[in-house]
């Protein structure tokens, strides 16, 4: 693996991790913008804009774009979150140049009003789709309840109303502000020619204009509120708990990641043995959610409504035990084995590697090899995890539940 980096005069950073023995390459634009960068008046614009980026440029129609992607056989997509918007493709090396040219063109879209109005329907269908996915819905609502007025509580999708109200000019203004080259990273991994990547970037992106880009970063420990809503068509109780954790930039993030594996990995964790093995719940997991300047633990459960009381008793006991008794060396070692193996397997294919490679750059502004990650996970001690539990007890949770009528 060889790391490469270049910054264009307008601030666009290009990074590469070369693996000549890979059969494919993966490329992506990482834009440091998401729903946390929106005001209430433009709620949902980051995600809607991500859809609109595929609608073409002054020279390309939406169909031309889809056609151009499919001609290369690329496996491509885009995703919008609270903090980043990512456009990526996995591709056979011979088509990499075509795809880089195409993505670069699309990063300066036409944002036509006709396309904008038609796409509103698709966005509203997507909002409706997620309403029929209670596990997603509960997380989205709990995020809002936990963060309150903190921008990380902003909904990625927005609401039907906010999408209806959105004007194309508001989207164009948001685009100009956020898709500034100094707020974007172009990342390439796998089998590629670095010089060609740089030449295309210079030719296609070199003239993009810079803006002053800002993001307000503040920490929060959440509202601590508990709410429940009923949906008569549901059969299970869907529960989400969010508690505070360290941010993506923190040195303690490795300990946080190990803690969530010990408590809530899908197999072999404390949740697993006390909730899944005995079939008290249908699913139970805990995940660490590192964010820019703030962090959380998500614990999610899905169970028969009659078991909700018992499930929450068990969860509260697990959280209390952590605080009182800490964790064992064996638990930590098992969690390390799981995370290290996942890390190696996930990153051995360019498509998998791209996201952690680009993500690390966006959040930390530094290159981290797989070896760096392995070393840092291995070095975590029991004391560090215990001290993390002391400072960020999962007991300090905000809770949202969705279930059938009681």
């Amino acid at each position: 693996m060889e790391f490469k980096k270049k910054t264009l005069p307008n601030g666009l950073t290009i990074i590469g991790e070369m693996n000549k023995s890979a059969k494919t390459a993966a490329i992506g634009f990482f834009v440091k913008t998401g729903s946390r960068d929106e005001t209430p008046q433009i709620s949902g614009v980051s995600h809607f804009l991500e859809h609109m980026m595929f609608k073409g440029t002054e020279k390309l129609s939406a169909f031309d774009v889809n056609n151009a992607f499919d001609r290369t056989g690329a496996s491509f997509n885009a995703g919008t979150g609270w903090e980043t918007t990512t456009y990526y493709a996995a591709i056979l090396p011979e088509y990499l140049g075509d795809i880089q040219n195409l993505w670069s063109d699309l990063m300066r879209p036409a944002l036509r009003e006709d396309d904008f109005n038609l796409e509103k329907n698709v966005i509203k269908e997507e909002i409706a789709m997620y309403k029929d996915m209670p596990d997603f819905d509960v997380l989205d609502r709990c995020q809002k309840l936990y963060f309150g007025d903190h921008p990380c509580g902003n909904s990625v999708l927005g609401t039907e109303q906010s999408i209806d109200d959105l004007k194309v000019q508001q989207m164009r203004d948001y685009f100009t502000m956020r898709y500034s080259p100094n707020n974007m990273t172009l990342a390439v991994v796998g089998n590629f020619d670095w010089q060609q990547v740089c030449d295309i970037a210079q030719a296609k992106c070199g003239q993009w204009q810079n803006q002053k880009v800002e993001r307000k970063v503040t920490d929060t420990r959440g509202s601590g509120k508990k709410e429940r809503i009923e949906k008569p068509n549901l059969h299970h109780e869907h529960i989400c708990l969010i508690s505070p954790a360290v941010s993506a930039e923190s040195r303690r993030r490795f300990a946080a990641s190990l803690l969530s594996t010990i408590v809530g990995d899908v197999v072999g964790s404390r949740f697993y043995w006390q909730l899944i093995d005995n079939a008290l719940a249908d699913s139970a997991s805990m995940q660490y959610g590192p964010m820019d300047g703030v962090g959380v633990f998500y614990s999610t459960f899905n169970c028969n409504p009659e078991q909700t009381g018992k499930v929450m008793d068990v969860v509260n006991r697990i959280f209390a035990d952590l605080k009182e008794k800490g964790i064992s060396t064996e638990e930590m070692q098992t969690a390390k084995n799981k995370i290290l193996s996942e890390l190696v397997i996930h990153n051995e294919i360019p498509k998998g590697r791209l996201h952690s490679f680009g993500g690390n750059w966006v959040y930390l502004g530094q290159y981290r090899s797989i070896e760096d990650e392995i070393r840092d996970i291995k070095s975590v001690t029991v004391d560090e995890i215990v001290s993390l539990i002391k400072d960020y007890s999962p007991q300090e949770y905000t809770q949202f539940s969705i279930g059938p009528a009681k």
Binding site: S75, K131, H235, E348
Partner: protein
């Protein structure tokens, strides 16, 4: 491409297949056991799902907790699934741990404890999964449409039937394990980094001593009804649809695959363009090829608001039927490139390649080298696809909808 298949057949009939992947440090394996939903006796729908859970609750010299810890300590990413024909169990791991992992799975297959005390939680967890499916209409609609489309019992639910699950006992389920963990029809497939000689020695030791006899294949009955509506006061109408096509052994297999790719291979394909891009009717829309050994179909899913459901279905059916009228060379080229590149990308991952070679062996009795598949895709022409579509017109559609509103079919 330099891939080379390793193959070995044990005396009891169990097949071991392996294919190396350069540039990876992982290995993946998958056992296909002939204990899928449709292979089990009538009245036992869901037994395969209980077994999928129960066999891991203690095996060989390890109890439930010890076995799970042993797997976690090897960093195994466990995979398991119940299909119409098979119970699949396997894992992806760092290559150095392959031998230790196979040892554990040898215990799981040969000496699962299947204790009475572990039966109740295994069954309860299957019951909760069925209940959970009610809150996931998108998955439920495709499961239901396969149930209606395939001749019984081929389309039998791969999640289980609530009433039949509740009636199963530990004795009955243990009997099913005994009869259906038939090694003469089992396939072990491996991909990634491995030493085949060592694997063969180990697998001989683990499995060769066990002789089993195959169970008779189930008799095929009739398919279900053509239209089923399940009322649910959700936000969308979820539409699942299937129509008959040729099986993987058929000479027209590649024509069928390319036809599906023209319909739904990418964002420029027919369904995405007509339903989403031009009309804005849906967010999620797509079709795929779905095959069992005995029968195959093209499946399609769309989720849309209740007022657009009828129009969405009408456009989908129009697009299926319009396909035979003409395909441009450009569409065909995109379909070919799309199929070829997804093939190469899936061959990079040890997990998906292990599944792929096992699936090929089961369906075709051979493993198609990647280059052979590429050649076959290359050789397929617009004319051959159109001829195929005209010889095999889409005559009937099996449709299931879940949501607040019915459609007219």
């Amino acid at each position: 491409m330099a891939e080379k298949l390793n193959k070995h057949v044990l005396k009891n009939g169990m097949v071991i297949l392996a294919e190396p992947i350069e540039a990876v440090g992982s290995a993946a394996f998958n056992f296909m056991l002939p204990a899928g939903a449709s292979r089990l006796p009538d009245g036992c729908c869901g037994a395969a799902n209980i077994i999928e859970d129960w066999i891991f609750r203690g095996a060989g010299k390890r109890d439930n907790v010890q076995l799970s810890n042993a797997m976690d300590n090897l960093g195994l990413h466990r995979t398991s699934s119940v299909s119409s024909s098979q119970l699949n169990i396997g894992a992806v791991m760092e290559a150095d741990n392959l031998a230790d992992a196979l040892e554990l799975y040898g215990d799981v297959i040969n000496q699962p404890h299947l204790e009475d005390s572990q039966f109740a939680p295994a069954r309860q967890s299957c019951i909760e999964s069925i209940r959970g499916l009610e809150d996931d209409p998108r998955s439920k609609v495709m499961l239901k449409v396969r149930q209606q489309f395939y001749p019984s019992p081929l389309g039998r639910s791969t999640v289980g039937d609530m009433e039949e699950l509740k009636s199963l006992t530990p004795e009955k389920t243990r009997q099913i394990v005994k009869e259906h963990f038939d090694l003469s029809q089992a396939i072990l497939s491996i991909a990634g980094k491995y030493d085949f000689k060592k694997i063969v020695q180990q697998v001989e030791k683990l499995f060769a001593g066990r002789q089993t006899k195959p169970q008779p294949l189930p008799k095929q009955g009739a398919s279900g009804q053509k239209y089923t509506h399940i009322h649910n006061d959700g936000a969308q109408v979820h539409i699942g649809l299937m129509t008959k096509t040729v099986r993987p052994v058929d000479k027209d297999y590649y024509n069928a695959q390319l036809a599906v790719s023209v319909l739904s291979g990418g964002m420029s394909a027919r369904l995405f363009t007509e339903v989403r891009e031009k009309r804005g009717l849906c967010y999620a829309i797509g079709a795929n090829y779905h095959a069992l050994k005995e029968a195959a179909g093209i499946g399609c899913y769309a989720g849309t608001n209740p007022d657009s459901a009828q129009k969405t279905l009408d456009v989908i059916i129009t697009e299926f039927n319009r396909l035979k009228e003409g395909i441009s060379e450009e569409e065909m080229n995109r379909a070919k490139v799309g199929l070829k590149s997804s093939l190469i990308m899936s061959s990079e991952s040890s997990g998906s390649r292990a599944g792929g070679i096992g699936g090929d062996w089961y369906m075709l009795g051979k493993v198609r080298p990647i280059d052979e598949i590429k050649d076959q895709i290359e050789k397929t022409t617009t004319k051959s696809v159109l001829d195929f579509l005209n010889r095999n017109k889409f005559q009937e559609f099996t449709i299931v909808t879940i949501g607040p509103k019915k459609v007219n079919v």
